[in-house]
């Protein structure tokens, strides 16, 4: 996969800040950075040229943001589908970075993902969850958007609670500094992911393996990034590893030892030696259990000359359930009676009052057409969770 075709899109205020941070990193020069927000000031913080920015719902919201309303975010992005498609078309992979809890990201990301899906672009979502002190509403909005929309459409999701930041910072640390660190960490992680999935000129982690790890199961991810330089001397692999362990978003070494799967990625300049790779991966192995699934990638790039970055994504699966894949029977699972064929000659069934009514329009009382367990008479856009703007005014929640 070519690095030039890797696109990172920042959605909403937090996403744009991450893009702004990425823009200043020399290693991100070859990645296509784009930003989308409903708030003009958010886009300005990304520092991108106008052709890489999308002010969604400008005509309607006037660039003043969504005020935390998810419905407004959905509508604003729904109206800008063409622009979104133009921004991401041609990419071989899309990484969406955002902070959930507000209206823009929670409402807009599903639209971006559905466009990516339509264009057959694999998508990875990297989101931060709000702090506990931000209130129950924001937390609920974030979890709802994550569970009900994003997890179903995205190929892979990495969600990181912001609270992990405070758990490793002293209480005297300045707040602005904490946010700056968070943005930098997310930016570095996005960069590390792009390297992990795209570069891989030495050891390559397969995207399908990565996607399979995250796609079908609810998971909690935490990640750490450590950087060392040539000036650190012969111990630079160890220093990068230790810095990764101390990374605020990782949540301590226990995250690694308790993880069900870990993705390690090593990135260095042309001078990266075999000894460095061996040293850092043998250290990493010591912190993981034998049954942990490990994906590793190592690569070199000229712009990383004199530097070494080691990143780890620790994934812990939710034991309770496996997420139903959209379009394979919906969130409610597949009923036996829906088994049938394209000719609609499935077994006669006792009609039941549906709990979750989906309109089939004129197809309501016709012979059902079923394919792979899906009722094809239900409009495709509903089964694919696409948000459609039909021009009706949105009712405030």
């Amino acid at each position: 996969m070519e690095k030039e075709k890797f696109t990172i899109m920042g959605v909403g205020g937090a996403g744009c800040r991450v893009i702004g941070t990425l823009r200043q990193m020399s290693a991100a020069e070859k990645i296509r950075l784009v930003a989308a927000d409903t708030d003009r000031s958010g886009l300005e913080s990304s520092g991108l040229p106008a052709d890489r920015c999308l002010l969604a719902g400008e005509m309607w919201r006037g660039g003043r943001g969504c005020g935390g309303n998810v419905g407004d975010g959905q509508i604003a992005f729904g109206r800008a589908r063409t622009e979104i498609a133009n921004m991401i078309s041609g990419s071989s992979m899309l990484l969406v970075s955002a902070g959930l809890g507000g209206g823009t990201a929670s409402g807009g990301i599903p639209v971006v993902l559905s466009e990516a899906m339509r264009l057959h672009i694999p998508s990875v979502v990297l989101v931060t969850l709000p702090f506990a002190h931000e209130g129950n509403l924001r937390r609920r909005q974030a979890v709802q958007a994550l569970d009900e929309d994003i997890h179903k459409i995205a190929d892979a999701v990495i969600a990181m609670p912001n609270d992990l930041l405070f758990s490793v910072l002293p209480s005297t640390a300045p707040l602005a500094e904490a946010f700056r660190m968070a943005d930098e960490q997310v930016a570095r992680t996005a960069l590390a992911l792009s390297e992990l999935l795209c570069a891989g000129n030495l050891l390559n982690a397969d995207f399908s393996a990565f996607s399979a790890l995250l796609k079908r199961r609810k998971s909690r991810c935490s990640l750490g990034v450590g950087v060392s330089r040539t000036e650190d001397g012969a111990r630079r692999p160890e220093i990068a590893f230790e810095e990764m362990l101390c990374s605020p978003l990782l949540g301590g070494a226990s995250s690694l030892t308790e993880a069900d799967a870990v993705i390690f990625s090593l990135l260095g300049g042309p001078e990266l030696a075999v000894g460095d790779v061996q040293a850092v991966f043998s250290l990493a192995e010591r912190y993981t259990r034998p049954e942990t699934v490990m994906l590793t990638s190592a690569s070199t790039a000229p712009e990383w000359k004199g530097m070494l970055q080691f990143s780890a994504v620790a994934i812990k699966f939710d034991r309770q359930e496996e997420i139903a894949v959209p379009g394979k029977g919906g969130s409610g699972g597949r009923r036996q009676s829906e088994q049938g064929s394209l000719f609609g000659d499935g077994a006669v069934e006792q009609p039941a009052l549906p709990f979750d009514h989906v309109s089939k329009g004129i197809m309501e009382s016709t012979q059902k057409v079923v394919w792979n367990g899906e009722d094809l008479d239900i409009p495709t856009y509903i089964r694919r969770n696409a948000v459609i703007d039909n021009g009706k005014p949105v009712r405030k929640k």
Binding site: G78, R79, R81, T82, R118, L342, F343, G344, D345, S359, K360, G361, I362, M363, T366, Q367, V369, W371, L376, D377, P379, T380, Y381, I382, R384, A386, I388, D389, N390, G391, K392
Partner: protein
């Protein structure tokens, strides 16, 4: 005394329209359209199948009367009516049959060919199914592949066929409708409609190179793959432009008829050409709604893409060849829609072109629309069937037919002689 030319009829009872074509066979075997009847189905046909017989019959009779009137009352000369069907649980499979060449010269004759063909049709079908069409794809004489086995020397003949079958009870409804509409005494043939499409618009070169033909209709979408002059796969999915219109209606909260019109009359294509961002509609309460054009595109793309993707999956499952050098051909009412060709290309990764019945002969015009591909192909096939009937006709049959006509009863004697029709 001048001999009246033979007249054949093609009937398509579709989800959007009922179309009847009357054709006259000229001396060189070509068929010329002499009459046409066209009536909207008005909801009596859903997903390609008749769902309201009492309401359908007057409509079909009206279409037949229109065709008769436009042909100047030639319906009475009709010798064969060809009904095109879809839906009805139609499925297909490849079959193979063999026969031993027993004559002294060890040369394949029509007898061996027919025997192998009959053996190929011995399929393990469910009790409620009947074989609708059976076409020879290729032959092998002692393991050597030939396109025509006649006069080849060998010991064993193998015939590879493509068999289309459907649910007998559902197919009978179509036969009964045509009989009740005034064709009770005329020979009737029933064919899966995409075979007629194939006959109407594909060229021999395309069939040899490999081609995928898709008929995107209102209620059903049919497909067929031809490779090396033989049918490799065919099938139907009961999804079509009605589903697209329904999706738009549900998503945009618009009247279904309006959505149908927008899809059929090219409104959306014009909007796209004009780069219009919004479509404005006035609701029942009088308020104005501005619906982004991208919303329409999204809903339509999702559905059309899904239809093509299901076909692709079915083709992959049936083991159809991947190298179709002649590309794709799109026909049927949905082919006129501006996004169809583009999405076809994207999903199948094949070059695609829209086809209309181009070689229509006769004084009637207005058939140069992809909606009429099936019914035109049906008429051409009917002429072919009639030719084959006449080849197998003995002098005694002609005499019996003549007597029957004289006595006012035209019970046909050939109806059961040749059940298997080769296309």
């Amino acid at each position: 005394m001048f001999k009246n030319r033979d007249v054949v009829c093609s009937v398509e009872i579709g989800t959007s329209k009922i179309c009847v074509l009357l054709g006259e066979i000229s001396g060189d075997g070509q068929v010329e359209v002499i009459g046409r009847g066209l009536v909207p189905s008005a909801g009596t046909v859903v997903k390609g199948e008749i769902c309201n017989y009492p309401a359908l019959l007057p409509l079909l009779e009206k279409a037949v009367d229109e065709a008769d009137a436009s042909s100047g009352g030639r319906l009475g000369d009709c010798r064969l009516v060809h009904v095109l069907v879809t839906g009805c649980g139609i499925a297909s499979q490849q079959g193979v049959g063999s026969s031993t060449i027993r004559n002294d010269e060890r040369i394949v004759t029509e007898t061996e060919r027919r025997e192998a063909m009959e053996n190929a049709q011995v399929l393990n079908l469910a009790g409620d199914r009947e074989i609708l069409n059976c076409s020879e794809t290729f032959f092998k004489v002692d393991g050597r592949r030939v396109s025509d086995p006649l006069q080849q020397r060998g010991v064993r003949l193998e015939t590879h066929v493509h068999v289309v079958h459907g649910i007998a009870a559902r197919l009978d409804v179509f036969r009964r409708a045509v009989a009740d509409a005034g064709f009770g005494d005329v020979d009737t043939e029933v064919t899966f409609s995409v075979l007629a499409d194939d006959f109407a618009v594909l060229t021999d070169d395309e069939r040899a190179q490999g081609v995928l033909l898709v008929d995107l209709g209102a209620g059903c979408t049919e497909y067929i793959v031809e490779y090396d002059r033989g049918i490799c796969a065919s099938g139907v999915i009961q999804l079509g432009m009605e589903h697209v219109a329904n999706d738009l209606s549900v998503a945009m909260n618009l009247n279904i008829d309006l959505c149908r019109r927008m899809l059929a009359d090219g409104t959306l294509g014009r909007m796209r050409a004009e780069n219009r961002e919004y479509l404005e509609f006035r609701g029942a309460a009088g308020h104005l709604r501005k619906i982004p054009f991208s919303s329409f595109e999204t809903v339509i793309d999702w559905r059309l893409r899904e239809i093509f993707e299901i076909i692709r999956e079915q083709l992959t499952a049936s083991g159809a060849p991947h190298s179709l050098d002649a590309g794709g051909v799109l026909t049927g009412g949905g082919a006129s829609f501006f996004r169809s060709e583009e999405l076809f290309r994207e999903v199948f990764e094949l070059d695609c072109c829209k086809r209309i019945p181009a070689d229509v002969g006769g004084v009637l015009t207005g058939l140069d629309d992809p909606r009429f591909t099936s019914v035109w192909g049906g008429l051409k096939l009917a002429a072919l069937f009639l030719g084959e009937y006449d080849e197998t006709r003995r002098p005694i049959d002609s005499l019996v037919d003549g007597l029957n006509r004289m006595w006012g009863s035209s019970k046909t004697t050939l109806k059961n002689i040749k059940k298997v029709i080769k296309i």
